[in-house]
């Protein structure tokens, strides 16, 4: 993900992507390194806010997925091109394998 982060034009993108991945990874050494890198490079307040955003989306993703709430049609239309390019539209395809249930 490092290169993708560098290409985004967002300051410290690579650090933040690694932090987001490390928070969800059970590897304690990885999250410790990511935490230290964000705090030393961006500051402790940035670490708190990055952790907060990760916490929120680790929760809100589950709200959406467990209630079956659909994306608003206008938002789906606005994001159709990059959702396809990023493979996001493929995420739910396993759901169509319900015949196996």
């Amino acid at each position: 993900m490092g290169e993708a982060g560098d290409d985004s034009g967002i300051p410290h993108a690579t650090l933040l992507i690694e932090f987001a991945e490390a928070v969800l990874d059970p590897d304690e050494n990885r999250i410790a390194r990511a935490r230290k890198a964000v705090a030393e490079t961006m500051g402790e307040a940035a670490l708190v806010d990055a952790a907060a955003v990760a916490g929120n989306f680790n929760a809100i993703d589950r709200v959406a997925d467990s209630t079956g709430i659909p994306l608003e049609p206008e938002k789906a239309a606005m994001t159709e091109d990059f959702r396809s390019a990023l493979g996001i539209n493929d995420f739910g395809k396993a759901r169509s394998s319900e015949a196996a249930e």
């Binding site: 993900m1 982060g5 985004s8 967002i10 300051p11 410290h12 993108a13 933040l16 992507i17 932090f19 987001a20 991945e21 969800l24 059970p26 999250i31 410790a32 935490r35 705090a39 961006m42 500051g43 402790e44 307040a45 940035a46 670490l47 708190v48 806010d49 990055a50 952790a51 907060a52 955003v53 990760a54 916490g55 929120n56 989306f57 680790n58 929760a59 809100i60 993703d61 589950r62 709200v63 959406a64 997925d65 467990s66 209630t67 079956g68 709430i69 659909p70 994306l71 608003e72 990023l86 996001i88 539209n89 995420f91 739910g92 396993a94 759901r95 394998s97 319900e98 196996a100 249930e101």
Partner: protein, 245 residues
């Protein structure tokens, strides 16, 4: 008794987080709308336990989770239908389906109990993830408080938008109107079948992320990371969770 405190946090914590997350955590230990306090705390405990479940790990690795049979590794305080709901939401939420949801409620769990259970799960995972991010151990679970649930079905529920009922913004009652302040985005509707769950969840979300008006105010920054950096972290977490929304 509050069991969540940031007094020993390794980094300075914002005042709004210090104020609101302990309230959300304490709510887990209180009688809910449909669930007792004991059950709510048991749900939070099982949510943590699910991340160590062998069956869930095998299902997560499988092409389809429904091809792997077996028994969950459980704490033993909850009925089987609650265990299945909690474990799947915790470990493979990106592959949940309407058919799976209907199978859960067909076991006798009401839609209200389902929504409230999801609310406890997501508040637990949100707060635990934040703790992991800042380098703190997850907080001790609250002690269940005495009392009975307070059953309540809000007016204006519709059954077409999602798997669970949601309040139709056009038919919302005055007590629930504040739930849609900032607009009835679908994600804000998701838990509205249980208004108390909505209030608790968004109390957490507003301090961990941004309140609606700040989220859309790109002319100003409200956090130590920019809107773009916030969305970068959010997007990566959601991609890892395979969240279509």
């Amino acid at each position: 008794m509050a069991t969540l405190s940031f007094d020993a946090a390794p980094v300075p914590i914002r005042d709004d987080i210090r104020a609101d997350l302990p309230e959300v955590w304490a709510d887990i230990g209180r009688p809910g709308t449909w669930l007792t306090a004991e059950r709510r705390v048991a749900i939070a405990a099982e949510a943590r336990n699910a991340t160590h479940c062998t069956l869930c790990a095998e299902r997560k690795a499988a092409l389809s989770p429904f091809t792997v049979k077996g028994a969950h590794d459980i704490l033993g305080d909850l009925p089987e239908n609650y265990v299945e709901l909690i474990h799947r939401v915790m470990t493979d939420s990106g592959r949940l389906s309407r058919k799976w949801h209907e199978a859960i409620v067909a076991t006798g769990m009401t839609k209200g109990e389902y929504v409230e259970t999801v609310g406890v799960i997501v508040c637990t995972v949100g707060i635990d993830t934040f703790h992991r991010g800042i380098g703190m151990d997850p907080p001790p679970l609250p002690e269940p408080e005495a009392g009975d649930p307070t059953p309540y079905t809000p007016p204006g529920l519709e059954h077409e938008l999602a798997w669970v009922p949601t309040i139709d913004p056009a038919r919302i009652g005055p007590d629930e109107a504040p739930l849609y302040e900032g607009g009835p985005a679908h994600i804000r509707r998701a838990l509205t079948a249980v208004p108390a769950t909505v209030r608790s969840f968004w109390k957490m979300a507003n301090v961990l992320y941004l309140p609606g008006h700040q989220m859309r105010d790109f002319a100003n920054e409200y956090r130590a990371i920019t809107h773009a950096q916030i969305e970068l972290v959010a997007g990566r977490v959601s991609a890892l969770n395979q969240c279509v929304y």
